[in-house]
Symmetry: C2
Amino acid sequence: MRPTTKDLAKAAGVSLATVDRVLNGRPGVREKTVKAVNEAIERIGFVRNLSAANLARGRRYRFQFLLPEAGDDFLTTLVERIEESRAAFLSESLEISMRRVLSNDPHITAKALARVLPAQVDGVAIMAPESPQVRDATTRLKQRGVEVVQFITGQPGLRPLDFVGVDNNSAGATAGRLMGRFLGERKGKILVVSETMNSLDSVERRLGFDTVLTADFPNLSALPSLETYGDRTRTEKVIANSYANHPDIIGAYLMNSEARQPLEALCHTSDPMQQVIIAHERTGYTEDKLRVGALDAVIAQNPGHLVRSAIRVLKARTEGREPLASQERIRIEIYIKENLGQL
Amino acid sequence: MRPTTKDLAKAAGVSLATVDRVLNGRPGVREKTVKAVNEAIERIGFVRNLSAANLARGRRYRFQFLLPEAGDDFLTTLVERIEESRAAFLSESLEISMRRVLSNDPHITAKALARVLPAQVDGVAIMAPESPQVRDATTRLKQRGVEVVQFITGQPGLRPLDFVGVDNNSAGATAGRLMGRFLGERKGKILVVSETMNSLDSVERRLGFDTVLTADFPNLSALPSLETYGDRTRTEKVIANSYANHPDIIGAYLMNSEARQPLEALCHTSDPMQQVIIAHERTGYTEDKLRVGALDAVIAQNPGHLVRSAIRVLKARTEGREPLASQERIRIEIYIKENLGQL
DNA sequence: ACCTTGATGAGGTACGTGCCTCAGAATTCG
DNA sequence: CGAATTCTGAGGCACGTACCTCATCAAGGT
């Protein structure tokens, strides 16, 4: 039988009340007594029963994901994972909700953040590009007692705010390395397509990509980033232009999570099989394109991990704990045709 | 407030006892009543509180990992993950233990399996190569009421037994594709090193590797698999021989989870930087070698995921549930220098 | 010596569910 | 129709912890 608090109290020679105070870090216990209890914990191998604790506490944490309105394939799978987590975490007394209110306009985003009430939500995971307005709104939100994590997009380490997502610099570098290795000795230009270079994520990916290319692959030169602004017509136009101006393009790096539009545009003016094309995020679309060979590699972050990690971080913060940084590091995944797995 | 069983009983117009019988699929309830309760569950959105249920049930499942004695780096990190899980799952009423008793001799393995007692263990995760003896011992173990999963090594889908690990055919194919792409137009031979080709895993990896190479990279030809039998001297000898006999070796595929010995042997007789070398499993050693460029890519399976997945499967089986196959699929990870992550 | 304060003990209730018993109601069978 | 059988309800204890109140005791200040 596992030792309980009662056993612990007996072993430490104190009462249940004192054990409780020590375990929950409440005041009113002498330093010496605290030490005695902790020693007893070690000695008898006491392990707190979290189920019982949560049950007794009867606390319910309510966390909310704030996502952009616009929806590419990646965002769609992200939403699915959140829905799944909602069900899974319900039995752990966590109520996960989701609101798709954020837009690219920082003012609107800030307004949405201002409407988040501490009475309704204990923590939020925000997926919105960095901007002064959003930063201020976030700070005010924290002051009102709501925990906040930056989700997928944001700047890790720069602010005293948790970040859940990949290191975009490394992600870009990974893409760069694969591009270089896959192209081998071939000489030519690399097309780089982004939705916008106004977001920190894009800048970092680009930086990582360029760093590797210039350091190790002098045979390749990356063109200036094309910005699509998420507009189909514009995408078609700028990509067609690039191929017209640079007949020696031998590869393309599609930086944003929506690969469909740029890849389709690219196919309209050139042959993807003759080039090395690397995109981001694993979706049904990118899987298909990997399988048929139109894409050569996909750099991805696992949506399920992202969601669960954000929830764990929010929970830790709400309970006043420090999240386990090592466990919450999101891996940069590489997919090629062969390791997609069945189905 | 979330509805409880009490609310559910009221909503369904039955007593708590009946609700309990329906929820736990116990007999003694009319079909009509069952339906009424289920409808009420839907209607009021009842979600079972697993914490409370586990607490009340007070059940403890005891699962055991049976691992080989011999210890390469991968096995070491695996052991670490099991230790971690032990602590983490304790609060979920799961007692995880570990025994390192299995050897390469199927008779000894079978004997070890025979010594597993249902009174002491509810389920075991076995990491041992396929063999008739092991198969029989496993079958008898199941008959004695102990749940069994094949762990990392084994044959997925072939037997009515759960398997937790990667699809080795795909893993080999992944290695093959990367080898081919990294080598580009270069012509030459590929060294293939395995601990032994007697295990199904090695055979499958080799098969997947060859399939890709012959289909898509006619410029490359893979040499017959070298078997090291885990012996340092032998490893040095066979590898030196190969390089002597085949001066046109331009790449190497190190198939087993212990990359150190073959890679060191390889470095003694040739320059790893002039070749494309792909190994398996992410360990401190392979990370180092990726960073310095001696390794070009590593195909890996996540030890933490493996352990947790095996535990989840065992738990599901013990409770008479079907494990969620989709969730327990282990990904084939690809690592290069850039996506190793900090640390 | 009196009062305040802090450190504990003792004991209770509550959390939501599992699981048991007992009694009564409904159904089936002879 | 009565007996046997099968359902169902009521109620209670248990699980391990949180959290509350009240009482006690010692140390320190005035």
